[in-house]
């Protein structure tokens, strides 16, 4: 049987495809989540950002946030480093790169919309949702205000309305979820005059990012921030300087946040299942020990009693015996004495008879 070259390659290909397919199947299990297919994101290219704060203004407008303390055209606010607040879902910061190549540098800060968000994983009322659109949304109607999401977020994004006494909310970027499901652009993307922000499918954005790096290797650091950080984020970043120069943390790792607590959580049912057995066991062992102790005590008492009883009996028997012996002796002595007396009496009577006989004889002789 001969196999044509074409046929052989066909089989090889099929085998290869089979392996690839089975891998896909495994990847689709809940062990690894690569984001919802076709979900959206935004690519921020810091080399294009000019720090105009138009994105801040656009965000403020479409989200109907309160008036800022200083107007959006006032660029002197860039002199100090800021963070997101309850009044601003996004802000732009200015950084002076240590390498000094292309100073100044700007970075836009907002929610990164993690593929597996820490905030959603730690919320005990599930107020956060990673939607299929890619946005991480927040539902204020169930929020208790524990602020654990703020502790958990590795990017330090959620802010809180501390001065609201009756209905304080967590405030954070929603990727303009209400707008994008209507087919509109997020407020910041729409406002950007330099196309530093690109909205699109995350997969597409990754391709665009790689393409820019390939075409202008001298312009970009060969890394797309957010591709794998914390398991991947929907917001992606390109930069011409190391990301740490933009105050972005490079030590976050690629582990999705929920995996950090899954070990501790998996211990819960084990404790619930095992502890009662263990504790009841310890209780039972102690109970049994006490019982055995009690039994041993009882046995010891019984044995002691028995021994004492036996001893008393032996003593009694000995006493009885000696009494018996004494009695026998006494009887013997009495019998002996009686016999002796009897013998004596017999002797006496014998001698008397003799005397009588002699008397008789003499009297007979006399007569």
């Amino acid at each position: 049987m001969s196999i044509s070259r074409r046929k052989f390659l066909g089989w090889l290909g099929a085998a290869g495809l089979g392996t690839a397919l089975s891998k896909t199947a495994r990847a689709a299990s809940n062990k690894r989540f690569d984001g919802y297919p076709q979900s959206s994101g935004v690519l921020f290219d810091s080399t294009r950002c000019i720090g105009c704060r138009k994105c801040e203004e656009g965000c403020n407008r479409v989200n109907e946030l309160p008036e800022p303390d200083r107007s959006f055209s006032d660029l002197s606010v860039l002199d100090s480093e800021r963070r997101t607040t309850a009044k601003a879902y996004t802000i732009v910061n200015r950084y002076d790169a240590s390498s000094g190549a292309e100073s100044p540098l700007y970075r836009k800060v907002q929610c990164n919309h993690c593929l597996e968000p820490a905030c959603a994983s730690v919320c005990f009322v599930r107020a956060f949702t990673k939607t299929e659109s890619g946005a991480v949304t927040y539902d204020a109607s169930v929020c208790v205000g524990c602020r654990y999401c703020m502790i958990a977020c590795p990017f330090e994004i959620p802010a809180y309305e501390y001065n609201n006494a009756f209905s304080p909310r967590i405030m954070k970027c929603t990727m303009c979820h209400p707008r994008i499901i209507k087919g509109l652009l997020p407020g910041c993307v729409e406002a950007c005059p330099t196309e530093a922000l690109t909205y699109g499918k995350r997969e597409e954005l990754l391709r665009i990012g790689r393409e820019r790096i390939r075409r202008f290797p001298e312009r970009y650091v060969d890394h797309i921030y957010g591709e794998n950080e914390m398991g991947g984020t929907s917001w992606l970043y390109l930069s011409g300087v190391p990301f740490k120069d933009l105050a972005m943390r490079e030590d976050l790792g690629v582990t999705p946040a929920p995996r950090l607590t899954s070990g501790a959580l998996s211990g819960v049912p084990i404790v619930v299942g095992l502890w009662p057995v263990l504790l009841t066991g310890i209780y039972a062992i102690n109970k049994r020990k006490e019982k055995i102790e009690q039994q041993e005590k009882e046995q010891a008492v019984a044995a002691a009693l028995e021994k004492a009883g036996a001893e008393a009996k032996a003593k009694m028997t000995a006493a009885m015996e000696s009494a018996e012996q004494q009695k026998a002796k006494a009887i013997e002595a009495a019998v002996g004495k009686a016999l002796e007396e009897a013998a004596k009496a017999a002797e006496k009577s014998a001698s008397d008879t003799q005397a009588e006989d002699a008397d008789k004889k003499s009297s007979e002789e006399d007569s």
Binding site: L260, A264, E290
Partner: protein, 390 residues
């Protein structure tokens, strides 16, 4: 702090009552401020520092120091150490009041306290360790209430109900140990989500184990510490059995605390090895870490051992107080000092005086209620109608 004030006809203006009264008035004033003006008006919390001392002290320290309840009842009813029997009721009472105050404190801290039942009734976020903490604390508070109730029922003369509850003792104790294991460890596990914010010397995958083991230390030390305070102020309320067993309790608990501290020291060292963080011991955070594990773990372990060996109650009592302080230091380190260590000092948190005042206020309320109960109910003495069985 004398119980004379509770006797009718005498002056209520004892120094304790005056100080406590002032604290309570200030506390109530801040309470009004908190619930009308919001957290921002009375706290130094910020977007970088969402948790302050109301979590660090009132929740983390409060729960740890209330561990005496499960530790003592487990020792007595499960491990069969019946000579600790007279220590069970005071420990259960302290635990119950401790947890009750933790729940009260949470009402101050969360933004919308009226929604605290939401995690159970509206939407269950079961992937959250805070859900586990909430569920266990709620259940355990109920367990502690039932465990405490016989004392109140004896006081009120509810004999039948009391006898039913007493029959549940073993079941409640086991339930209590399970729940305590879970939430004591989960309080540590809360911080597992933030390796990028907690200093590596304190961050460890063993955090839940550290918190659980140190809660045993806290429970043992608190029973000794609180017992010595009670003996000082409520000796008149203690019966002969209680007084007779007291030395045995101090020595026994001191011995246990020494051993558990030694074990805790070892696992803390294993924690450094696991993260290979030895080089960080030379930094300023490292020195603070060394102070914690040498000064507040190794040292008290040693002094407990000496106190037990020499049968020196005084050393054991002081060591217990020192160890309790050590628990406070540890919980503050994890939640506040080593948390957000990467931030510039201008963004770091220091409590507002009103936050401290609320914490002091809640502790004071706890002491007042404790005094109210022990001067009335059979806590440190057996009720004459139920001798030798509580």
């Amino acid at each position: 702090m004398s119980d004379e004030a509770t006797t009718a006809g005498k002056s209520y203006l004892t120094p304790f009552n005056i100080v406590a009264g002032i604290i309570v008035i200030i506390g109530l004033f801040i309470t009004v401020l908190r619930f009308t003006k919001g957290l921002g008006a009375v706290t130094n919390l910020s977007d970088y520092n969402p948790w302050g001392i109301w979590i660090g002290f009132d929740l983390l320290v409060g729960v740890a120091l209330a561990a005496g309840g499960y530790v003592t009842s487990a020792a007595c009813y499960i491990f069969g150490m019946k000579k600790f029997h007279s220590a069970v009721r005071p420990a259960i009472l302290t635990g119950f009041l401790g947890y009750a105050l933790v729940v009260v404190a949470l009402n101050y801290d969360v933004g919308r306290p009226w929604r605290l039942p939401y995690p159970f009734l509206v939407q269950q976020g079961t992937t959250s360790l805070l859900f586990e903490v909430a569920a266990c604390v709620a259940l355990y508070l109920t367990v502690l209430f039932i465990e405490f109730s016989p004392a109140a029922m004896e006081w009120l003369g509810l004999e039948r109900a009391r006898n039913i509850v007493v029959k549940l003792t073993l079941l409640l104790t086991i339930f209590g140990v399970v729940l305590s294991t879970l939430h004591q460890s989960s309080l540590g596990a809360l911080f597992l989500i933030a390796p990028s914010k907690l200093h590596p010397l304190w961050y460890s995958p063993y955090l839940p184990v550290f918190f659980f083991v140190s809660s045993i230390i806290a429970g043992l030390s608190m029973v000794i510490f609180e017992g010595s305070l009670s003996h000082r102020y409520f000796a008149g309320k203690m019966d002969e059995t209680h007084l007779k067993e007291r030395q045995g309790v101090v020595l026994g608990f001191g011995k246990a605390a020494s051993l558990v501290l030694a074990g805790y020291f070892i696992i803390k060292v294993i924690g450094i090895s696991e993260g290979n963080n030895w080089h960080l011991l030379g930094t300023s955070y490292g020195l603070w870490f060394l102070l914690e594990i040498l000064g507040f773990v190794a040292l008290p372990s040693f002094f407990y051992a000496i106190g037990v060996r020499e049968k020196n109650i005084k050393i054991i009592k002081w060591t217990a107080a020192w160890t309790v302080l050590g628990i406070v230091v540890n919980r503050f380190n994890v939640c506040l000092v080593a948390f957000n260590w990467h931030l510039p000092s201008s963004e770091r948190y220091f409590p507002h005086w009103m936050e401290i005042a609320i914490s002091v206020f809640l502790v004071t309320v706890g002491i007042i209620v404790f005094r109210f109960i022990v001067t009335r109910m059979p806590i440190m003495y057996a009720h004459p109608d139920y001798p030798e069985e509580h």
